[in-house]
Symmetry: C2
């Protein structure tokens, strides 16, 4: 497998409107409209940085996957990085053969960009939650 581009850095935030204002008004970034993704339990705003994106994530509904993270980090914080790979199945099989843990049932889900994604266990990747997205 070959590590591809950084698709985005995700930052979990307790208040998406406030976070969007920080990135748009304070830092002068270009931001999208909020997009509710109920099937992922988050509402998302993307900040376009030219070469890559920041993904601002706010919990949506009960049992959001970022709920526990925000309890531990009430001001928000960096939640994961997303790297692109050419073939997510080849990447998954090679990573699993090397002993890395893939989260969930190991089958790719459809991510925020409509492409197959997987998450890798932070303990196997320098304490960092890694999302892989098919390029």
């Amino acid at each position: 497998m070959k590590l591809g581009r950084l698709n985005h850095v995700a930052i979990a935030v307790p208040d998406l409107e406030k976070a969007t204002a920080i990135y748009r008004d304070t830092l002068g970034g270009s931001v999208t409209e909020p997009q509710a993704l109920p099937e992922h339990g988050v509402t998302v705003v993307f900040v376009d940085l030219g070469n890559t994106k920041v993904e601002l994530l706010e919990p949506l509904g009960e049992g959001s996957p970022i709920g526990a993270f925000l309890e531990k980090n009430p001001s928000g914080g960096m939640h994961h990085v997303c790297y692109e790979v050419d073939d997510i199945i080849v990447a998954r099989d090679r990573l699993k053969a090397g002993g890395a843990r893939v989260l969930g049932d190991g089958e790719p889900k459809t991510g925020a960009h409509g492409k197959p994604v997987l998450f890798l266990h932070p303990k196997d990747f320098c304490g960092t939650l890694v999302e892989l997205e098919q390029a």
Copy 2:
């Protein structure tokens, strides 16, 4: 001020050799040789992602600026993001005028790429330590 490109995502790690092997051998990334930066209290390896970089940071010497972070996060973790700006003094003055806190004495230091850098207080930026680097 206008938010520029993502220069890098920094990941603090307890063992740079092991982290480099994960990024090179497990993930198939292109990595640099380790570079000791005693004036910054870290040894650095860059992972080239095509559009941006991951900066792997290991503490170097006494009182490393990432020492406390690694005590709290012994497996490592995402430490900061670095955004490029056209003029770091203009950016700093505008941010300060808006009430954002600049770390240290507020004067830019020379960063790992030989360019002026500043760090912004995580509490003002969604719980995320933000480095600004003059592009």
